[in-house]
């Protein structure tokens, strides 16, 4: 892969061994749509390592053996690419970028990033805003990135909105981040301007420790996306922007409770399609409604009928991403047996007792927050959430393990 940046426009060319279909860090196959994208507002004088890591968040899935940058990078970034992915990176020749003093929050506006923002009330926001690509038709106009950006502005926090079409480099599954970390491309390029030493994401317990979303669906201490010692964690750190997961030790029930109890409550929006409010009918709205109803201890309130295709996803036998939260909801939402989740009760013996570990913080998640920001998050979690006991922590560490099997250790590399 050869990449070049010019006035915020990233162009890349495939080497002979690179192919249209690649794999993201979580192993998911992704197809390339186009080899150019833009990140608005990128300063031309950003450190070369920042250009390199930002480019890598886009081109990583399709790079097989080597990557050639248009400006020399530090030996540290080259080593992180080599150790993490087995990729030869060059040219090498820049001084490494020292980490800055500032922690910014990669703010999407959803419950998880609002919870992260609650942990660090003084941290500035960087918001990624999807804009159309000039050469790829927008077949997804229902995605209301404009509404999300407006809500982010209303929070009153110091905010940088980064407009980018980089999601259109992905043809399949559909436009989205080629790697989960591409949401940070703008924050990386602006890291010198903002004085960044860390970037906080809303990734929670399920994503960081339980192999959630579309990953392994079991305990993943060496998660390559989000562990500080994983490939991505080391790469970001080598460019002086540490990955920080303020809510990495708590479940989506806790992030929901923190978000709904925060000063930003009015601006929380996990739905990507609604305009005046959440649409209430998308799959994400349904999932979050289950969690919210469980947290608020009230009956489920959804217009989606039981026979709707969106309901079916949660009636399949486990395992699936977000399963811990379905169990949590099944155990707590009054009258759940009469809702579209009624059928899922057959798969679980969830009780309040068996899911109560999801109400507390997994301590190792605090230990891995980089030093300058650890104490604040730890104090917050002790005061507002509470830490898991050893027995509860064991629930995390045996999550998804087949009966009798040791907790799995996935290979951090592809």
């Amino acid at each position: 892969m050869r990449v070049s940046w010019s006035a915020g426009r990233l162009t890349f060319r495939l080497d002979p061994e690179d192919e249209i279909t690649g794999k993201a860090a979580d192993g998911h196959p992704v197809k390339l749509a186009i080899n150019a994208c833009t990140v608005a507002g990128a300063p031309d004088d950003a450190h070369p390592d920042l250009f390199a890591v930002a480019a890598w968040t886009v081109v990583a899935p399709w790079t097989r053996r080597r990557i050639t940058f248009d400006r020399a990078v530090s030996a540290e970034v080259a080593a992180a690419l080599h150790d993490g992915w087995g990729i030869e990176a060059g040219p090498v020749g820049a001084e490494p970028r020292p980490a800055g003093p500032v922690l910014a929050i990669s703010y999407s506006g959803g419950a998880d990033s609002v919870a992260a923002a609650t942990v660090y009330p003084e941290a500035p926001f960087v918001h990624f805003k999807r804009v159309p690509h000039d050469r790829v038709p927008n077949r997804w106009p229902h995605y209301r990135s404009d509404v999300l950006a407006k809500l982010a502005r209303r929070t009153g926090r110091e905010l940088t909105v980064v407009a980018s079409d980089l999601e259109y480099t992905l043809a399949e599954p559909r436009p989205g981040y080629p790697e989960h970390h591409a949401v940070a491309a703008g924050a990386l390029l602006l890291a010198d301007r903002l004085g960044l030493g860390g970037l906080a994401f809303g990734y929670e317990l399920g994503s960081r420790w339980l192999g959630g979303d579309r990953y392994l669906l079991r305990y993943t201490p060496d998660n390559p996306m989000w562990a500080p010692h994983g490939a991505w964690g080391r790469l970001f750190a080598s460019a002086g922007v540490h990955i920080v997961l303020p809510v990495g030790g708590v479940s989506e029930a806790v992030t929901m409770r923190l978000a709904l109890g925060s000063a930003l409550r009015e601006h929380v929006r996990w739905c990507l399609t609604g305009t005046d409010g959440p649409c209430r009918t998308c799959a994400k709205c349904l999932y979050k409604e289950l969690i919210q109803a469980a947290v608020e201890r009230r009956p489920l309130d959804t217009p989606i009928p039981a026979d709707h295709p969106r309901a079916r996803k949660w009636l399949r036998p486990p395992p699936y991403g977000g399963q811990e939260m379905v169990e949590y909801g099944l155990a707590r939402v009054p009258g759940i047996e009469r809702t579209l989740f009624g059928g899922a009760l057959d798969h679980f013996d969830a009780t309040e007792e068996s899911t109560s570990w999801l109400d507390r913080c997994y301590p190792p998640a605090l230990d891995e927050i980089p030093d300058p920001w650890r104490d604040q998050a730890a104090a917050f979690m002790r005061a507002d959430v509470g830490l898991m006991t050893e027995d509860e922590a064991r629930r995390v560490e045996t999550w998804g393990a087949a009966p009798g099997a040791a907790p799995g250790r996935e290979n951090a590399l592809r």
């Binding site: 050869r2 426009r9 495939l14 390339l32 186009i34 080899n35 050469r135």
Partner: protein, 121 residues
């Protein structure tokens, strides 16, 4: 009930006085007849308007609905096929540049100084 004898002259004077203030039965009959005629006329007009509406509806809806539906379907199909074709086109462009770069790398280095072409933007 108590009956009081009233002189015939007075009685007829009072009756005349009342009659002069009220419409006669004959006039009432005529009014009712006129109203009935009006109602029947309106009913006939309503019926003819209704049949006109029916006729227009019959004449218009099936044909126009058919045109709309097929046009919508066709537009949708065309949009999807075009988008899919464009996906392939853009991917081919990436592969073409890959092939061009590969060829250039195999050529003798005389043209090495040529500026780096970029995909059209």
């Amino acid at each position: 009930m108590m009956r009081v004898p009233v002189p015939a002259r007075l009685r007829s004077a009072v009756r005349r006085w009342f009659d002069s203030r009220y419409i006669s039965i004959a006039d009432h009959r005529q009014d009712i007849r006129d109203a009935l005629w009006e109602v029947q006329t309106l009913r006939r007009e309503m019926a003819s308007l209704q049949s006109e509406v029916e006729r227009l509806r019959e004449a218009r809806s099936p044909a126009s609905a058919k045109i709309d539906k097929s046009m919508v379907e066709d537009t949708r199909r065309l949009a999807q096929e075009t988008a899919k074709a464009l996906d392939g086109l853009l991917q081919n462009e990436v592969l073409l540049w890959q092939a061009v770069d590969d060829l250039r790398a195999r050529l003798p280095r005389e043209g090495a100084a040529t500026s780096e072409e970029r995909p059209c933007v």
